[in-house]
Symmetry: C2
């Protein structure tokens, strides 16, 4: 590999590239924290991409038809901040760059879409970004297939990604890229910054596979730019060629030197994740012929890069004209397209959600979920989703609609394959495409463990993802403890900003979907936990009750002696136990508590009305760990719970053996009553 | 693909294969639950492998030098139970097979190593098994490199795996297989049951990549048996060829028909995960010419397969002789080898663990962890581990020892690359190799989200894995909320059988390792959470205190007015706050609570002595979510906690802004005191 050498005269392009490099070098130096290596090495490819290809409008970062750019190697975020600043985005000023990684800044240590306009998705946890990008490209393909006409392409953009060795080592990227290859997403173009260095040193210590061959195996179109440090024309040609292949995603391996220009640190792990240090910064300036003070960018470079403003305004204006034509020709499609993009729900959408009475046959809540999804699909065509190879167990198919496949991107049913983590990140990408899609992903509740990083990121990055999880307890049965969640609900409730709902019956399932759809449109994720097994429809269950998180479903006259708090399939145990206790002269309240987070969001008066402080005798009943329940049952209460792993046996046997029976609820309640 | 056709005369081999098939068919039929398709299709390859290659001793399933067999596609466990039964293992009788998937049986719905002798690892969650197998093969390579002599190979076995399409779709398998290719693990041989069917139907709907090419890209030796249904010789030749390639792992793609023999269901998803149904069972009997009643195996098949008993006894006896020779020639190595295999710790090993006084410089607990690991490595050569590309952040290197690499398998430092999930499953595999290794895996605490399925399986499957997690709070700092755990500790505490320890200082770190090492030898995992930032060494901290989970570190005369409960880096805040409160005349106790699980394991008297019921004014202080703390602070207490995501800023700024200050602890305590 060539060692970087100084060239005496600088072209304007080189000056622009060095502008990116030194913004990164100096910001990291000032913060004494950060990752200069990637921006220094990837500056050429990033410059070529943004200068010659990216269609964005810096003055309207949310312009719908913009190309999406994802820095999957999120630790190199100074690259992205430099691009935004130099291209004229108002979200990143030179002052913001000086505040890199400081409290309250718009330039946090990894790119955060909810902080900085121009950032599409939150990256940093490696591999997520490239998988999000697959979701962005799927969203584009879906909308294009839905709305474009032979004479009017109103949805037409590329999704570009820069990813590194770290991303390529992560399984989540493999899952998503295998799927992208399967789908033939031709407008997804990934630039792989092949610099042979990760934190532990040379990739030789751990990562010697042939990445290009692997992507070919996935069905990608693969290219290689051998000198990514100086061959700007080669980079441009590769991107052109990638664009020309429309039936496969493209991966351009761009071989670079990490920390290019730093005489003593380039091509070492030392430049990956730490400031260069004053002396090396000076030497790098000397080596690259950079005579400017920190944070000073030559005017000609700024002028050149800010041409993006004019280009972007022109592009948006042309698109606006095209959209206007489209409106006049295709009024109803245009109205629907605009509704999508506005993120508004059609009036009365929620009326399709069914309610039930105790006379209605009790079925599994996963079955109610299927009903809800299919009812909702009749009024919300923006629903798009599927399962990680458990379609007919999760019951997530929208019937009568086709599968989302190559050549059939207009269809809503996605078959993710056994790729939970990839699915999670893809769903987040679709949610963050900004086109009003309501994406959902499904698997067994236990397998949220495989995709937890993506679920967490949905909550952190304000993605309106809906997680449809079935087989939500030891009621799962014969598959045994590897497949039976016990701690799973608790572990998900612990995630900030994630709403977890475990409905008790059909009506509560409708309530759960009402919340999930509204939250999706408000850019917040919801996780729904459904039973495998049948549950009765309860008297008193209500959609409104679900929206409040917890509510009284059975009550006594006057102050209760005891409150039984149930969730999901265990609420009916509480109801039956309450009947028996009442017949024995006790005053019993049953609270159905499908969602802790929704309950916590209520005001103090409502909370007191449901769980009065004066009633300290309380029993929670949930087929999961007791972890966390002491907040609601207090020191005088008790939990009916399972604090061990489950076992392989028919579901009803498991429930009985582990104490989820009316008798055990009764016995526990009597013990608490004293 | 050829349709299965009935052949009129059966060879003994065919009868053996059909014995496997019908044990699976009939057991699933009886249970009305399970997965017949894989056993029916994979029976030929499994038969050839077990009949011609597997070196196991059915009457001593734990014989050290046995070949390891992993059914990564764990849902097909009837295949494995059939093999164990037919080969003469006492752990699976025909009665056990009749109890398939029933309460308390030794034939649960997925293979569980802790239930059934002969099962090496717990599989079912897809992709885990193949990754476990990489760990098993690494353990073999490590011990062979350590103990074998040119004239004495006492460690010498293969690791065989059967995996399916589902496993190959999962990212965790990609991570582990890429790593196995890097390491050149020649004695790892995987048979890929290429049947083109997963639960959603044909793999055409989601999985059309070229798997063989991908494995070639990983650096594997790849073979293909085109007719895995009948070409027994081809299967045997392929395994022979795989064995002959010693510098690469081998993947044999074996193309089969799922549900082979079922006239109406073979090659469909219908046979994947459901009983065939009585009519189809009858038709399958007819089609395959199987005239036996359910659970009746022809004596000649049994006789043939039970030759494994004699073969195994002979193999073990030869090995015992070899070991005996080894002992006489290499006494000290033999003694050490026998100590390894016995799982015993050397006397006095724990004396190397340092203790500290407040005068000792306060450093980060990750730094104390490095000291402990390096001290322990001087007395416990069975320590083997490393980081997922964060070696110098996690500080997990055993200094002066080399890296575990191809040709250097004797070294203990493993560079996992950015493959957290793969690492997790590999560590479990090493722990379950049964050779006394103490394996550890490290990354940032937040990235337990990537490997949670493997951590859970360590707890479920009784693997003595040690999870070394650093950067354990918002004290992580500038990297921001994507890298800052807040809910992570809580979510891990929720996992049954996992011990989580978050030590406060150097002495507590030693205590944490004392517990982790002892638990590893007792086949239980421990997760250690260490700070990035420096913490003072506290007066009164103790190793013994850690072993009890929680203990009084500062106390008052008489009954305290208030108890401050801290963990990790926040204990010192409690200590300083207590000093101030004491100076204001309050009686204050500080409890350091590094481990909830260890505390819960104490008797009631001890618990009462630390947290007396009479003292209801309590404050917990932990830089994480409040979730779960109400169990200890009760209804009159309070938590100093962070129930939102963190932020990008220097660690001390984050701690201050989110209220982890002495002032805020004081203010909260005073509020609770009223």
């Amino acid at each position: 590999m060539a060692v970087a050498t100084q060239t005496p005269t600088k072209t304007l392009e080189e000056i622009c590239i060095n502008s990116i490099r030194f913004l990164a070098v100096d910001a990291v130096e000032k913060a004494k924290s950060g990752h200069p290596g990637l921006p220094m090495g990837a500056a050429p490819m990033a410059f070529v991409l943004w200068d010659k290809f990216m269609r964005v409008n810096p003055k309207n970062p949310k312009w719908f038809n913009r190309d999406r750019f994802v820095l999957s190697a999120g630790h190199g975020c100074m690259l992205q901040y430099a691009l935004l600043y130099l291209s004229g985005f108002d979200s990143v000023t030179i002052e913001d760059i000086k505040q890199f990684r400081q409290w309250g800044s718009r330039t946090p240590g990894h790119p955060e879409n909810f902080v900085t306009a121009g950032i599409e998705v939150t990256t940093g946890p490696l591999g997520q970004g490239i998988a999000n990008a697959v979701g962005l490209a799927m969203a584009e393909a879906h909308l294009a297939a839905k709305f474009n006409k032979p004479d009017a392409k109103i949805v037409d953009h590329y999704t570009y990604v820069i990813l590194g060795d770290g991303c390529n080592m992560e399984g989540v990227s493999g899952e998503a890229c295998s799927f992208a290859g399967h789908l033939g997403l031709g407008k997804l173009i990934a630039l792989y910054d092949d610099n042979h260095i990760s934190i532990d040193g040379s990739t030789d210590v751990a990562f010697t596979e042939d990445v290009s061959k692997r992507f070919e195996a996935y069905g990608w179109h693969v290219l290689h730019v051998e000198d990514g440090n100086t061959d700007l024309e080669g980079i441009a040609k590769a991107i052109e060629e990638a664009k020309s292949v429309t039936d496969k995603p493209s991966m351009i391996k761009v071989t670079t030197l990490i920390g290019y220009g730093s005489p003593n640190k380039q091509n070492t792990a030392g430049v990956h994740g730490a400031a260069l240090g004053g002396d090396e910064v000076a030497l790098t300036r000397q080596n690259l012929g950079w005579e400017h003070e920190p944070f000073v960018i030559p005017q000609d470079a700024l002028d050149h890069m800010q041409k993006a403003i004019e280009r972007g305004a022109k592009a948006e204006s042309e698109w606006n004209k095209a959209l206007s034509d489209y409106k006049s020709k295709y009024a109803s499609e245009a109205a629907e397209f605009e509704r999508y993009v506005s993120g508004k729900l059609p009036d009365g959408w929620e009326k399709v959600l069914p309610t039930y009475t105790p006379e209605d046959k009790g079925v599994a809540t996963r079955k109610h979920s299927e009903t809800c999804l299919n009812k909702l699909a009749t009024v919300l065509p923006e629903l798009i989703g599927g399962s990680a190879d458990l379609t007919h167990s999760n019951l997530t198919e929208i019937k009568g609609k086709g599968d989302f496949q190559k050549g059939h991107y207009e269809n809503p049913n996605v078959h993710y394959g056994v790729r939970e983590h990839g699915m999670g990140a893809i769903v987040n990408g679709m949610a963050l495409h900004g086109s009003g899609l309501i994406p959902y992903g499904a698997t067994f509740l236990i397998f949220t463990d495989y995709m937890r990083a993506a679920i967490r990121l949905s909550a952190l990055s304000e993605a309106g993802s809906i997680w449809v999880m079935t087989h939500d307890s030891i009621g799962q049965g014969e598959d045994g403890p590897t497949h039976q969640p016990v701690e799973t609900i608790a572990s998900l409730r612990a995630i900030p900003e994630l709403t977890v709902i475990r409905p008790a019956d059909g009506t509560e399932t409708s309530g759960a979907y009402k919340v999930a759809i509204e939250k999706s449109k408000a850019n917040a994720p919801t996780l729904l936990a459904f039973t495998r097994q049948n549950v009765p429809n309860l008297a008193g269950s209500s959609i409104e009750g679900v929206t409040k998180g917890a509510y009284t479903i059975v009550d006594s006259q006057g102050t209760p002696d005891i409150i039984l708090i149930g969730t999901g399939s265990e609420v009916s145990l509480c109801v039956t136990a309450a009947e028996k206790l009442t017949s024995e002269g006790k005053k019993v309240r049953v609270v159905s508590m499908p969602s802790w987070e929704l309950f916590e969001a209520q005001d103090a008066a409502y909370k007191e009305s449901v769980l009065p402080k004066a009633v300290t005798k309380r029993v929670s009943v949930e087929a999961g760990v007791s972890f966390g329940w002491h907040k609601y049952v207090g020191t005088e209460g008790a939990t009916v719970s399972i604090d061990t792993f489950g076992a392989s046996a028919p579901g009803p046997v498991c429930m009985e053996k582990f104490g989820f029976t009316v008798d055990n609820v009764l016995a526990t309640a009597k013990k608490v009553l004293g």
